[in-house]
């Protein structure tokens, strides 16, 4: 059964690692729904959050292939319930909406959003939350002159106290997820 999975990947901050990771999806015809890359808590380690809808079996194989890349330090995959995550969305509205009697203020309050800026001819609303929430606001605003809409990729944290740094210590480096996937996911 296909499910929403978030892959969290830690890699060296080198040219080309992103392409190495994305070709693993391309080769298997898997569409990446969103991807964000940033520095992690360690200055010289980069962190990827990749969102895909796939079966767990395929995702396990993909994660092993990602781990296999020389410059990838570690990779995990999580179902939604095992992570804390957010996305940010920006909505640019024409001021005509207000002139036409739409109460943007009420919509913003109901949706726990905020007004980022008000210019002479447009207003920008910002909403942080899960995709369903930013999408719901989109549906509400769309009929009233939505000029521009953008949603970020997912940023996610693991729902545990584990620190990535712990895995960088030499002996721990030997226990990578692909080995764990073999041992833990199947035998616990």
């Amino acid at each position: 059964m296909e499910k929403d999975f978030t892959l969290i990947v830690f890699s060296e901050n080198h040219v080309g690692v992103l392409q190495r990771i994305t070709t693993i999806f391309t080769r298997r015809g898997i569409n990446i729904e969103s991807i964000t890359v940033s520095q992690s808590e360690l200055r010289d380690v980069h962190r990827y959050n990749i969102v895909v809808t796939e079966t767990e079996e395929r995702i396990q194989k993909v994660v092993k292939q990602i781990e296999k890349q020389i410059e990838v330090l570690r990779a995990w995959y999580y179902p939604k319930e095992k992570i804390l995550y957010q996305e940010i969305a920006l909505y640019k509205m024409s001021v005509d909406a207000v002139k036409n009697g739409v109460s943007l203020e009420d919509i913003v309050k109901e949706n726990n959003a905020r007004i980022l800026t008000v210019e002479s001819d447009f207003i920008v609303i910002e909403k942080t939350g899960h995709k369903e929430e930013t999408q719901a606001l989109y549906e509400q605003l769309q009929p009233h002159g939505l000029l521009e809409f953008v949603r970020s990729g997912r940023v996610a944290l693991m729902n545990s106290q584990k620190q990535f740094k712990d895995y960088l210590k030499a002996p721990e480096l030997g226990k990578r997820i692909s080995e764990e996937a073999v041992r833990e996911y199947r035998y616990k």
Binding site: K61, Q65, V72, L173
Partner: protein, 574 residues
């Protein structure tokens, strides 16, 4: 004044061009053979190489594809990384097939490509290609160097990555300005990369579970692949099967890891493998897969493959576990270490009845297929009888390099091998044109051994320009063309599965004898059986390269055969 001069000399001796640093670093890695082809963007490297001709033998091939296949043959025969030089743009793109081949067959290579000067990157400069981008999916690791000072460390990492863990090809793309500019030379071999863990630690619990399954098995069965050769575990494999009495079958890349005449060697797996090894995989209760990856040519229909058996998978690459066949007991680690640990834990045993089943299957296969192939009753010469003659006359001591197609399957089925690293073929990628250059490389890697290139008339014409390399280097390669005037394997499929509609498979061939003569290679063409035996003698005993062309049955087929996508139990003997 004197001190100042001394000081200056000292700095000079440590300050070298990027190109010189590259050559010095290659020498420190023990490289003495390089296959390559020069061009604009790699000229400074070739210029630096000029001063080191006494230490590095550069073999000028006739095409970059020839260079990389030669490096593959060298690596497979010698067990160390093959090194390739090529220029930017077309030089580098011509390496792609070889990289893909080396990637899928786990062959260690370090390929150095020249690149346009760094200010020109991304400008569509002359002979500029995004080589790092293009080669990414077909390299274990690749990297672009734009500064001379990075060269020694990048090269050290390249060798470490190429040869450690599951080996593979590495490509290092060096911009022309990095080759020219000066750097302080210092070389430290790479011993680890923090993000890379080449050999998983052995899990004793898994070894115990594996040993228990093996000790209680009624019909255990070993399938082994190239992992045995790559981890130098030939002795351990032999000891393991001898202690446990388990019959062992091989993938074509595993061929020669276990002597052909070993009583527990039951033969070849897969589409054109032996009858018993395929059929009886459905009866084994415990399958021990060692350093192999369950290629679809081995498994046939995956959903029906060895589904009754408990599977123990000895594998160095965690991504291979459960990729195709679920392992009940995955034993991660280097095959040599894992087998050594298993040998300690398994009980001495014998399985005479089970082994007899393989022998019975062989008898049947011999009567229905092998006898006619090795001793044909018709006038037409068969591929099998040529291979048999060569094996008999060389006592299984030669290196046999094959191309792809019918002759490859026949050679793998019937050639006898007594030594490891004796079978070199393009397995996973199935690259026609691999054989001739790979055989040249194999001879440079194993100069004391007889190297025989077995090629079809189709594959020969894909890289026959490498006869020029033979001509120039005088390397001794025996070339056997098994000429059926068809792309035989495709024709066989057309006959069996496409109503004999022979679309684009007939070859109207040139005169290979004349071609050989042009390259100064002695040759003979055999069309009748009466002339074959002597011709094979001349072929094997000739000093230097020799081309033997044998006209074989035009529409002969390779059997047994598991039809594509069918379960292995549906293996056909005719």
């Amino acid at each position: 004044m004197e001190t100042a001069t001394k000081k200056k000399n000292k700095i000079d001796s440590a300050t070298v061009s990027g190109s010189k640093a590259l050559i010095m670093a290659l020498i420190e890695e023990g490289v003495n053979t390089i296959f390559g082809y020069p061009g604009g963007a790699i000229m400074p490297v070739y210029d630096a190489l000029f001063d080191y001709q006494d230490q590095i033998h550069h073999i000028l091939t006739r095409h970059e594809q020839g260079a990389i296949h030669a490096a593959q043959g060298f690596a497979r025969a010698k067990g160390i990384p093959g090194v390739v030089f090529a220029t930017s743009g077309p030089g580098a793109t011509n390496l792609i097939t070889g990289l893909a081949d080396a990637m899928i067959d786990s062959t260690p290579l370090v390929c150095i490509t020249g690149q346009v000067a760094s200010p020109l990157l991304g400008t569509d400069a002359f002979q500029e290609t995004d080589v790092v981008g293009i080669s990414m999916p077909v390299t274990k690791w690749n990297h672009q160097v734009t500064r001379a000072e990075e060269i020694p460390d990048a090269l050290a990492k390249s060798f470490y990555v190429a040869k450690s863990g599951r080996p593979g090809p590495v490509l290092l793309d060096i911009t022309k300005d990095a080759q020219i500019e000066s750097c302080t030379y210092q070389y430290t071999p790479c011993k680890e990369v923090r993000s890379y863990h080449p050999i998983p630690s052995l899990d004793d619990e898994m070894v115990n579970q594996a040993a228990e399954l093996i000790n209680n098995a009624k019909r255990p069965y070993v399938l082994f692949g190239q992992g045995v050769i790559l981890s130098h575990a030939e002795e351990e494999l032999k000891e393991f099967i001898e202690k446990t009495g388990i019959p062992a079958a091989w993938t074509i890349l595993g061929l020669s890891a276990l002597s052909s005449d070993h009583p527990l060697n039951v033969g070849m797996l897969g589409m054109h493998g032996n009858y018993g090894p395929n059929l009886l995989s459905d009866e084994a209760d415990v399958v021990i897969a060692i350093g192999m990856r369950f290629d679809d040519r081995v498994t046939g229909k995956v959903s029906e493959y060895i589904k009754q058996a408990k599977v123990i998978h000895l594998e160095i690459d965690p991504s291979e576990i459960d990729k195709i066949i679920k392992a009940d007991v995955p034993v991660l680690g280097d095959a040599k270490t894992s087998l050594r640990a298993l040998i300690e834990k398994v009980k001495p045993n014998q399985h005479p009845k089970w082994l007899q089943r393989f022998k019975d299957c062989y008898e049947l296969e011999y009567e229905k297929v092998i006898k006619e192939e090795l001793y044909p009753s018709t006038d037409l010469i068969s591929m099998g009888e040529v291979i048999r003659l060569i094996s008999e006359k060389t006592d299984g001591n030669s290196i046999v390099v094959t191309d792809v197609g019918q002759h490859q399957m026949v050679a793998c089925r019937y050639a006898r091998f007594l030594k490891s690293k004796s079978n070199i073929t393009s397995g996973g990628l199935g690259t026609m044109g691999f054989c001739l250059p790979a055989a040249i490389g194999a001879k440079f890697g194993a100069p004391d051994r007889l190297v025989i290139a077995v090629i079809g008339d189709g594959g020969f014409q894909m890289t026959l320009q490498e006869l020029g390399t033979i001509f120039q280097t005088k390397v001794d390669v025996k070339i056997l063309i098994l000429n059926n005037q068809y792309l035989g394997m495709v024709r066989q499929w057309q006959q069996l599965f496409f109503d004999k509609r022979y679309s684009a498979t007939e070859m109207i061939n040139p005169d290979f004898q004349t071609i050989a003569r042009g390259y100064g290679i002695e040759s003979i063409k055999v069309e009748e059986r009466d002339n074959l035996d002597k011709a094979v003698d001349d072929f094997l005993n000739h000093k230097g390269s020799y081309l033997l062309e044998v006209i074989v049955g035009k529409e002969n087929n390779v059997f047994p055969m598991v039809p594509s996508g069918a379960p292995v139990a549906e293996i056909r003997l005719e």
